[in-house]
């Protein structure tokens, strides 16, 4: 039997099911933490994405990728945000993020990251209104909120979650759980989350001097581990950068692109008025993917150096 007849058994449908399964714990945790408002955001985003996709493709039943896009986009919305924010997020992700660029398999930018970036530009008040409005005795303002809580929380407590920021930050450990599942199932390339988290920790150590951090409480910059578990870092590492369509397809390109994204995200976090910039950094890394792949392939052709697939 030769190569064209070998099949691993993994189909697009199976991959989609794995990703949806990996996202399920985070969805459940966000609903458990934030209640009906989180459920409303998840449903509004999903319904909006499916309806818009149906209108554009004239197919009544959406494929799994639409649900994945909608779920990831919803998980990056602020906890307690208005339901219509989910409707807009789902529509932007499908129309601008996917359909405009040629549909599934051709999108240049991660649709969920693109949706968040557009919403940040169009509705900054709604996207960044977390904190006191949602502090209910159960959730606290995110440590990345500017100005953030004055007292430091232990890193493990940060991983447990309960921060009132995006839905995904309700319980960061569930993102690790889902991401670990994807890596174990080989749906996601292990190099991507590893590189992202290592680069984030390294940048946090390098950029540590508190005086250079714009607006953050000083304790946020004292421990690289904190930066790994707060904000959109885990979502970026496990669910945004691992998108097979928008990530570079060469292993070297993936490592370089992921390092670039993590570095930019940390620069935004430390030096701008924005509390976090994972989605924006992912978009820049997506745009650099064709270039990085070209460099990696040229390097391979000239030196014969190659990494294991």
């Amino acid at each position: 039997m030769q190569a064209p007849f070998l099949h691993s058994g993994a189909t697009t449908r199976h991959l989609m099911q794995d990703v949806l399964l990996a996202l399920a714990p985070t969805c459940l945790a966000s609903v458990a933490r934030h209640g009906s408002s989180a459920l409303l955001l998840l449903v509004a985003t999903g319904v909006s994405a499916c309806l818009v996709n149906g209108l554009l493709t004239r197919r009544a039943t959406p494929d799994g990728s639409v649900l994945i896009t909608a779920t990831v986009a919803a998980l990056m919305l602020p906890a307690g945000g208005p339901w219509w924010l989910g409707v807009v997020a789902g529509a932007v992700a499908i129309v601008v993020g996917r359909w405009a660029f040629g549909g599934l398999g051709y999108n240049l930018f991660n649709p969920a990251a693109l949706s968040r970036a557009w919403l940040m530009a169009i509705f900054p008040a709604e996207m960044f209104t977390w904190g006191p409005r949602f502090v209910d005795g159960v959730s606290q303002a995110s440590p990345l909120f500017k100005p953030g809580p004055a007292t430091a929380a232990p890193s493990l407590e940060l991983l447990w979650g309960g921060w009132s920021c995006t839905l995904a930050e309700a319980a960061p450990w569930t993102v690790v759980l889902g991401g670990g599942y994807l890596v174990a199932r080989r749906v996601a390339d292990w190099r991507i989350p590893l590189t992202y988290l290592l680069t984030t920790a390294t940048m946090a150590a390098l950029l540590e001097p508190g005086a250079r951090m714009a607006g953050h409480p000083s304790w946020v910059g004292t421990d690289p581990l904190r930066h790994v578990v707060v904000g959109g870092t885990l979502m970026g590492a496990f669910f945004l950068m691992t998108d097979p369509v928008t990530a570079p397809f060469t292993p070297l390109g993936r490592v370089l692109g992921t390092s670039l994204a993590a570095t930019l995200a940390m620069l935004i976090r430390f030096h701008t008025h924005l509390p976090d910039g994972t989605a924006l950094a992912v978009l820049v890394a997506n745009a650099s993917a064709p270039l990085l792949d070209r460099w990696a392939l040229r390097l391979r052709a000239e030196t014969g150096w190659r990494t294991r697939p």
Binding site: A100, G102, H271, L280, A287, S288, P290
Partner: protein, 131 residues
């Protein structure tokens, strides 16, 4: 128009102009303008950089003019504008190559989808450059 806007618009213009190596000479425009402004023998605000761009690469003179409009106040700003122009320009070339292969819907094919990609990158780069 901020320095960032000028550099980004100049880079976006490259998508609609001939792709030649000498295009990147245009990146020298802000540096030349800065040198001219800081020199003691600059009697007027002649856009030396834009003239240079028009001479070395006539098809890309519009990019040069856009970069000259940035009017950097010092060497740091001039270098920043030049670097941003090159980085965004190179990224957009890669993006454009990929867009050419994608089955973009007919109403968006060509300039609209290129502008959409530019707009997305603009939003993405804005806070990065603030850092």
């Amino acid at each position: 128009m901020t320095l960032f806007d000028a550099a980004f618009l100049a880079a976006a213009l490259t998508l609609f102009l001939p792709r030649e190596r000498r295009l990147w000479l245009v990146a020298a425009v802000p540096l030349l303008d800065c040198a001219w402004r800081l020199s003691s023998f600059s009697p007027s605000r002649i856009p030396v950089g834009a003239l240079f761009a028009a001479v070395v690469s006539p098809p890309h003179a519009a990019c040069g003019l856009m970069l000259a409009a940035a009017s950097p106040r010092g060497w740091t700003e001039a270098l920043g504008v030049a670097a941003l122009f090159v980085v965004v320009g190179v990224l957009l070339l890669g993006v454009d190559a990929r867009l050419e292969r994608a089955p973009v819907p007919l109403p968006l094919r060509g300039a609209p989808i290129r502008l959409l990609a530019c707009a997305t990158l603009y939003f993405a780069f804005l806070p990065v450059t603030l850092s």
